[in-house]
């Protein structure tokens, strides 16, 4: 334990410090040092004897140094005695110096809020602009890669199609099977009230093929593959791998971004097809169980309910959704800065923005198809 004893001899105060002056005891040491300063007030001279100190670390030395400085500032002539050589050296190394506190600019709260608001509007505009620039660069680079044959990275494309497309099949099939079944069940229950339970098949066919299949697949892929793209590109950016590519004369866009986005664009329609089929199958099972519609009857009802256009409306949207997911993910990945926190933020932003954009674009498609009556 830290010990402090003082003895006053006229104008001179003599302090004797002993025990352990270490960081672990800093809670007790700081008040003791303050006591020391208080005790010496009014005295002309203070002698600080360090001979009894058993252990001293930088924190203890700093606290002593700070007290000595405060004593000197109070007009007391201070001298240190009996310090062991290593303690004297430590005291000298940790000699008190004033560190200016970091300036924290604090403005008005309302101004801060407005400034934040303005900044986010500007950054949203910047995002849109950057997105268009990125899309342009992507199209130019991809077109160039196709034209200048041999520059195209087929291996990379196939690899990413496997990881984004093929490996997503089980989860896409499963969630769409469930959603198809749920839609069928709700459709049957609601339509039964009008004695129109069999029309649930129309509901399933149209809803799944036009909207749900592609939407669920896109959202799942944004979460599963979009985040992966952002994290991959982001950590490559952090570790200067992207810079390494650039100085080798390779375009990161061509080497990293194009294969990934193209893989998504090719995979998503295929996955959407899988999604459509498994949702229809889910509907088939539920119709069979709840409404007693046999599979053969289900298929013929389905054939009447939907046309080829219903099927294609969903499928046409898929590559656009893939492009949006890929562009957002790649942009966010490339925008990653040095820290782990930044990577996390960009992965989150990638998924959120991609899902948001997918839903917005789906809405625009709905308006478009309605107005061309497809």
């Amino acid at each position: 334990m830290a010990r402090l004893s003082s003895r006053r001899e006229g104008e001179t105060v003599r302090f004797s410090l002993g025990g352990e002056w270490v960081l672990a005891d800093s809670g007790a040491l700081e008040p003791e040092a303050a006591d020391m300063v208080a005790a010496a007030r009014g005295a002309a001279r203070a002698i600080v004897d360090l001979a009894q100190i058993a252990r001293l670390d930088t924190a203890g030395a700093w606290i002593i140094g700070r007290a000595l400085d405060e004593l000197a500032a109070a007009g007391v002539a201070v001298s240190v005695e009996g310090a062991r050589p290593e303690h004297a050296l430590l005291l000298q190394e940790t000699k008190f110096r004033r560190f200016e506190a970091p300036a924290r600019a604090r403005g008005l709260l309302i101004v801060d809020i407005l400034a934040d608001l303005g900044r986010s509007v500007v950054s949203a505009g910047q995002d849109a602009y950057d997105g268009v620039v990125f899309l342009g660069e992507f199209v130019a680079v991809t077109a160039f890669a196709f034209v200048a044959a041999g520059r195209f990275r087929l291996t990379s494309l196939v690899y990413h199609m496997e990881s984004f497309g093929f490996r997503s099949v089980p989860i896409i099939a499963l969630i769409n099977l469930l959603v198809g079944a749920i839609v069928a069940q709700q459709g049957i229950f609601q339509l039964r009230r009008f004695g129109a339970g069999a029309y649930a098949v129309d509901l399933i066919g149209i809803l799944v093929l036009r909207e749900l299949g592609v939407l669920l697949t896109s959202i799942m892929i944004a979460g599963r593959s979009g985040s992966a793209i952002t994290a991959e590109l982001g950590s490559m950016k952090m570790r200067e791998e992207v810079d390494a590519l650039r100085v080798m004369g390779l375009s990161p866009m061509e080497a990293l971004v194009t294969p990934r986005i193209l893989a998504l664009v090719l995979s998503l329609p295929l996955l959407t097809f899988v999604a459509d089929m498994s949702a229809l199958f889910g509907g088939l099972l539920v119709c069979w169980i709840y409404e007693g519609i046999s599979p053969a009857a289900y298929l013929s009802l389905l054939q009447e309910a939907i046309g080829r256009n219903t099927f294609f409306v969903g499928l046409i949207k898929a590559p656009f959704m893939a492009l949006i997911i890929g562009l957002v993910a790649a942009m966010e990945g490339m925008a990653t800065r040095g820290s782990a926190e930044s990577l996390g933020r960009h992965v989150t932003a990638s998924v959120v923005k991609a899902i948001f954009m997918v839903i917005v674009v789906d809405g625009l498609f709905a308006i478009f198809f309605a107005s061309i009556k497809y």
């Binding site: 270490v22 960081l23 672990a24 800093s26 809670g27 700081e30 670390d57 930088t58 924190a59 700093w62 606290i63 700070r66 050589p85 290593e86 303690h87 050296l89 430590l90 000298q92 190394e93 940790t94 110096r97 560190f99 200016e100 506190a101 970091p102 800065r337 040095g338 820290s339 782990a340 926190e341 930044s342």
Partner: protein, 282 residues
Amino acid sequence: MSLASELPPTTKAPEPSAAREIIRVRDLVVGFGQTLVMRGLDLDVYRGEVLGFVGGSGQGKSVLMRTILGLVEKRSGLIELFGRDRDRLSTAERRLVERRWGVLFQNGALFSSLTVRQNIQMPMRESGQVSAKLMDELAMLKLALVGLPASAADKFPAELSGGMVKRAALARALALDPELVFLDEPTSGLDPIGAAEFDELIATLQHTLGLTVFMVTHDLDSLYSICDRVAALAEGKVIAAGTMEEMLACDHPWLQAYFHGVRGSRLAGAPGARQKDMRGRG
């Protein structure tokens, strides 16, 4: 920081007696899959000394350090830290041991989402009991001790140069004034002036705080100027350990090549001030 040499030679006494061993490794075997990295390695680190650890690239210097730290599982063997078998420590005891050492990783391993100041305060914060004001002052003090400007305190690691990251990481390793410091290639990536300052800093801290330093290094300058002893790793074992003179006299072919190669002999040929400095302190 040049104060180290003004000190009387009596203050440092790394007595190689059995009780003075701060790390004792016996018959250590470490392997990954089919490959054995350590094959019955023995190593002693004595209290208060600076041990330089050398070995060819890929020989497992870092693996040994990580094994001692408990980051890599050993297959068999004994590791004693501060005189206690690491396998027999309870979780609480192990945490106490971990409080007593500081580690400087090769690439700094600063927390990228915290500022330099917060990085340095992290261990203090975890130990509790330290007032905010003292923590701020100590963080700034450590920064000053490792030779970083005050302006670096509020920067994020990504904004620092490689040398500054090293210094900031050392400041964090020293945050709790540990008894034992592990340094993984502390001077790699520093300019010669910076590396020399780093060496002096470590020497000063060793004198003032009674630090024991386990230093993995390739820097022959560091080996000559601040290491009390040098241990060399090859073929999964410590092939030699001793003072620099003993190492230079050793006739193992790898050591011969290491110390008497083009770079080594340049230093050994004109040791002058360095050797004198070593004798003055040793």
